[in-house]
């Protein structure tokens, strides 16, 4: 079971002077349990693509199926939960509780079970339980994004689709979100992340897809990505490449701070030893 996208094209403002082809013959597949990272420049079609995964947009040509179900089926929302890029659009309740419980209560969950779902989702999103009684519109930008995220998590979708989930989060909330996603992925949930911070998610991803002007310009593993794409690469990797150019004897495929530290220490020592001779 998977999300299958076949020859998908999509045009905004068709037939007008502002016609814009946002997706052009896109084919790809997101396997059950996979962690897929989608990157690409501003306006390359990322949000347009993922809005097809839970049926907000309907294919103009080509097809999208989610675990065998056509994305045009109403029930596809039960399978695929989408966190939108500007989550303010997604919030509507008088309280945070009302907001987060909306999805699961629509699926028929009530009473204590519902309370539990909401509490779990808030915790997974890194929010305190006491936030439940506040109005979502009285929150800061980052807090709003986390509430919208909790709303998606509370639906416990098979496919968790997140459009720029770390944007506006402080570094601490960013790393706890990464930890939550890692855990969900390990428990078998499929995760699709759209992000400009490709490097932040690289260590978690099974697959990286890049869009360029509505086309799939890259589709491969993170290792293939680091080897074949010139940017964006993690700053640490770029630093090592810089140092090699400056004559340092270090590896060029370093992704972590620990490894970089070790490589630099060794390179400096080797130099020191060389000079002593």
């Amino acid at each position: 079971m998977s999300i299958e996208v076949k020859d998908l094209s999509f045009c905004y403002n068709r037939g007008t002077s502002l016609e814009k082809r946002a997706l052009d013959n896109v084919s790809l597949s997101i396997g059950k349990g996979e962690f897929v990272l989608i990157g690409g420049e501003i306006g390359s079609g990322k949000s347009t693509l993922v809005r097809h995964f839970n049926g907000i947009l309907k294919p103009q040509s080509g097809s999208v199926t989610v675990s065998g179900m056509a994305s045009t089926d109403r029930d596809v929302r039960h399978k695929a939960g989408l966190l939108m890029q500007y989550p303010q659009k997604q919030l509507f309740g008088r309280t945070v509780f009302e907001d987060v419980s909306f999805g699961p209560s629509n699926f028929g969950i009530k009473g204590d079970a519902l309370e539990q779902r909401v509490a779990d989702a808030l915790e997974q999103a890194g929010l305190g339980r006491d936030i439940g009684s506040l109005s979502p519109f009285s929150l800061s930008g980052g807090q709003m994004r986390l509430v919208a995220l909790a709303g998606v998590l509370a639906m416990q979708p098979e496919y968790l689709i997140l459009d720029e989930p770390t944007s506006g989060l402080d570094p601490e909330n960013r790393s706890s979100l990464l930890a939550t996603l890692k855990e969900l992925h390990l428990s078998g949930i499929s995760v699709v992340v759209v992000s400009h911070q490709v490097c932040e998610f690289l260590p978690l991803a099974d697959k990286v897809i890049l869009l360029d002007n509505g086309w799939v310009s890259f589709n491969g593993t993170p290792v293939e990505y680091v080897r074949s794409v010139s940017s964006p690469l993690p700053e640490i990797t770029l630093l090592m490449k810089d140092l090699i150019r400056e004559g340092f004897d270090v590896r060029d495929d370093i992704l972590s701070i620990d490894d970089a530290f070790e490589e630099i220490v060794n390179a400096l020592e080797k130099r020191g030893a060389g000079q002593d001779e």
């Binding site: 800061s140 570094p171 130099r271």
Partner: protein, 273 residues
């Protein structure tokens, strides 16, 4: 330029978002503001152009007190703000209209207005989208147009609230150098961010916690200091690496030369080899 004296602010639901805070920002300074989600950064910024009035204390912008209703228009012209959520800022039906709105209100000639609209859209790389509806743009495109609309007013002070959060690495770099350019040409810049690697150009870093200021100093001083927990953040990888190298004595530990970016760390390493 901006004098904030002992202000407190409570939202109508009684949340205390700013707690007895004072801050002076000098003309031409580039001040970055960081801190955890919900610590009060946006609330503080909204006080700097009179969008919010303090419950206690005073805010004076370029000699004008924000509590004086007759100065409010002048204050908004002096201090332009690019919002965290660009959608909340759009007024025009088209991108062009939106960017022209500010200059029109300044009473400029049509020629000057056109020039400013052209230039601001070019500066953010959105000249191809003049006739589009701001609402129908992609996330990053919205952010760029919101930026252009404020640039077109050429305010003396610009308040940026997380304006690079939806940009790809390439546009992020472009926008950062645009902001650095404004700063070099005398604009006072107040820049809220969660991305500490963006601070290379800042003269000053202010870190907030629970509506108060807990650090105020040069970014090098603050980021090279020992306890990152203090300002509630994981450090950007390059800075974390630099600190470890400094701790082991492999690069100088002196805060005044502490590297804040990849390019700076490369230089320091080349010098110590």
């Amino acid at each position: 330029m901006i004098h904030i004296k002992d202000i407190s602010y409570r939202y109508p639901d009684n949340t205390l978002a700013i707690d007895s805070l004072s801050l002076n920002i000098n003309k031409g300074e580039f001040v970055a503001i960081a801190g955890k989600n919900g610590c009060g950064k946006s609330t503080l910024l909204r006080h700097m152009n009179g969008l919010l009035l303090p419950c206690q204390g005073s805010v004076v912008v370029n000699g004008m007190d924000t509590s004086d209703p007759s100065s409010l228009m002048d204050i908004r012209r002096t201090a332009g703000m690019v919002f965290q959520d660009p959608g909340s800022q759009f007024i025009g039906m088209t991108v062009e209209e939106d960017v022209a709105f500010g200059p029109e209100n300044l009473g400029l000639s049509q020629r000057e207005i056109n020039e400013r609209v052209d230039l601001s859209l070019q500066n953010v790389g959105m000249e191809g989208y003049r006739y589009h509806t701001p609402r129908s743009l992609s996330g990053g495109q919205k952010q760029k147009v919101a930026l252009a609309s404020v640039l077109a007013m050429k305010p003396d002070i610009i308040l940026f609230d997380e304006v690079t959060s939806m940009l790809d690495p390439c546009s992020r770099k472009d926008i950062l150098s645009l902001i650095e350019n404004l700063h070099e040409n005398g604009t006072t810049v107040v820049y809220v961010t969660h991305h500490l690697e963006e601070l290379v150009h800042a003269d000053r870093l202010v870190v907030m916690e629970n509506g108060r200021i807990v650090h105020d100093g040069h970014p090098r001083e603050i980021l090279s200091r020992n306890d990152p927990e203090q300002f509630g953040s994981d450090l950007p990888p390059v800075i974390e690496l630099a600190r470890r190298l400094a701790d082991s004595g492999l690069i100088p530990a002196d805060p005044s030369s502490f590297p804040l970016s990849r390019a700076e760390l490369r230089e320091v390493l080349c010098r110590s080899k």
